[in-house]
Amino acid sequence: MMAPLFSSKLLLVLLFGTLFGLVLGVLPGLGPTTGGALILPFTMTLDPLSAIILLTSIYCAGTYGGAITAVLINTPGTPAAAATCLDGYPLAQKGEAGRALGMATVSSTVGGIFSVIVLVFFAPILANLAYEFGQPEYFALAIFGLTMLASIGDGSPIKNLIAGAFGILISTVGKDFMTSIDRFTYGINELSVGIGFIPVVVGLFAISEMLTQSTLLDQVFKRVALKAVKLPTKDDYKKTWKTILRSSGIGSFIGVLPAEGGTVASLIGYSEAKRFSKNPEEFGKGSVEGIAGAEAANNAATGGAMVPTLALGIPGSATTAVILTGLIIHGVRPGPDLFKEQPEFLYGIFGAMLVANILFFIFGFFGAKIFARITLVPNKILWPMIFAVSVCGTYSLSQSIIDVWIMLFFGVLGFFMRRYGFSVVPVIIGLILGELVEGTLRQSIVIFDGNWLMFLTRPIALTFFILSLIALAFPLIRSKKNKKII
């Protein structure tokens, strides 16, 4: 598995990806999705394996990096670290920042490695199953993926569905792939090739975050001092090993489902840790179990989210949607054939994720203090710089100024979406799945000779439709408990 990594170039890429991912994770508002989208143009200079290794190492390290800021300044570096703030910061305030970060680092590494094992075993099984899939099955699967966003995604289920439908709608802009008829182009030639993925991602994540930061200029962070990261004590291990394993399992499972990946995984991991804890009253006051539950889950979601991405070409999270775009740009088609024809490519990715988890453990353990200093860069300097990189990165892919304007449009749109409670992640998932949904639907209708009821005669498709209905009904049941549906 590790053989393809024994080259100085790949190790260098891995090292850079891990460090870059940590920096992105530490900076509030940035994260592996934005970072991956920004670095995507640079991957064009690399071979496919190096490019995907770079993106996956950013994903793994970026997810962990969010914990450093969560513990030290009570602001999650990434949304997936939101649950880590709940106990990480209170523990740091008690003068135990090193212990909090040590627990976060160990549980993140265990969660990450656990999820790579899940990926190695389950991705080939899922890929083999995919041989049974025809167009109707892929359509049903994509619909299931989108309905899962409503069911377990963060925020309101209906708003998530609207955002997902909007994402699919964006994918219909341009020439219709079956008939070459223009749709929503309004005479603008540049739009006939469609709206690119990168301008939308950079707009929705980086530019909208820049606008959000412009509303938070008076915010003052209270930083907790950190002397050194400390490995958990024997007592801490005794207290948390079950929580770490449970959250690793939860995170891997949530990661496999197409949803908001680590964000949802960490919230469920945290709440399950509290439910099973002997001392639930300590949660929110600096419980090491709380930190372990959240961190093991969000890092376990990374490997989980790669399972459907590699096996089916269906992303498990926003960042894996960027990785999927990277695969497509480099001419690698995810799916069962990839497992058969290019196993060494996949082993390279698996090995890289494993090494990235070990690397961020080392960097986190010895360098958390240095990474924490990155948050000292003031927003008034940082964000204009990010804007410059965003603009050049977006322009570079198709050398079109229209892409830059599309990026700005989605930046403003993303800001208002987030302001009014619409998550931007379903837009990304909808955009990447849009062509698959429409293509498989239309081809299925051709196969079925216009008889829609034929979908119900295919057992696998029918199973996915039933699961989609359950996924849609789930928020209704949950809302009776939580009263949250709007």
Partner: protein, 168 residues
């Protein structure tokens, strides 16, 4: 907690067309309806060549779905009003203005100049007054990014009054 309750009450006490949920509902319905109408002007495939559905059918279905779901969230908001958001501060509008200036300059004068102007504008209005840092974000850093993209990716930026000096 009390603050949130007060905000909710404040939102509920406003006339319906000033409420956040109505503004969001109205904006989505308006845009979706315009897009839906525009789908009727898409070309159609002659029946003899048509396999499956017409190119406009799928987007039409999506737009109807968005309209229905938006109506549902608006209906549900009668039972549970949304909280009133804080007014947007001045730097937000200045940042939006800087985007407009960026588009105008990049279209008429120069791409690089547009990045430099936006960077200095944003940095200044976000509170930076030190000349070195203003120069760093507006000239030094964009120049590094520009050269990096140009050399590593072989990217050719759009022509303009400053970019032309570099290329010719």
């Amino acid at each position: 907690m009390n603050n949130v309750r007060d905000k909710k009450r404040a939102n509920k006490s406003l006339p319906f067309f000033f409420r956040t949920e109505f503004k969001v509902f109205f904006s989505i319905i308006l845009v979706s309806t315009i897009l839906l109408i525009s789908t009727f002007s898409f070309d159609t495939v002659p029946p003899i060549l048509n396999r499956g559905i017409q190119p406009a059918t799928f987007p039409k279905g999506l737009l109807v779905l968005i309209i229905v779901l938006t109506s549902i969230i608006y209906y549900l908001s009668f039972k549970k009003p949304w909280k009133k958001e804080k007014n947007l501060p001045k730097p937000f509008f200045l940042t939006i203005l800087s985007f407009v200036i960026f588009i105008i300059i990049s279209k008429t004068l120069d791409f690089f100049l547009a990045i430099a102007v936006l960077s200095v504008f944003v940095s200044y209005y976000w509170g930076e007054r030190r000349i070195f840092y203003l120069l760093l974000v507006s000239i030094i850093f964009p120049l590094v990014v520009f050269i990096f993209f140009e050399m590593i990716l072989g990217l050719r930026f759009p022509p303009g009054i400053i970019t032309n000096l570099y290329y010719y």
